[in-house]
Symmetry: C2
Amino acid sequence: MKVVVNVRLKSGVLDPQGKAVEHALASLGFDSINSVRIGKQIVLDVKEADENDIKKDIEKMCEELLANTVIEDYEIVL
Amino acid sequence: MKVVVNVRLKSGVLDPQGKAVEHALASLGFDSINSVRIGKQIVLDVKEADENDIKKDIEKMCEELLANTVIEDYEIVL
């Protein structure tokens, strides 16, 4: 089954990539944008198992590898 | 209002970042993963306007800047 993990910078953490895209969009003439933040979307193909077990496993993966929890938040979408 | 754009590599396009994470998870002992693909999640804060206008605008941004449509697909979540 597919599990999606969205990893985003915590609010307050500077996002230079987002800022660059924000300025690029403005210079292309798109003036309706207030701000841009860029995160990662990780799509995992996981072997079928109990949903709660999978969720626990994915949480562990996020804490250990997928997200830097000092500056990033993650959201697991089963 | 917030608009989320998910940008993913098309299936069939090699994803070295995903492969690296796949191997890293395996070497950490997570053996329930079949494959990993990594994309971008772009969160735009857009000035309030008609939803259809916003969608059209965002589509144009995706085609022009946010996604490389040769190798990437995008999905707009209003």
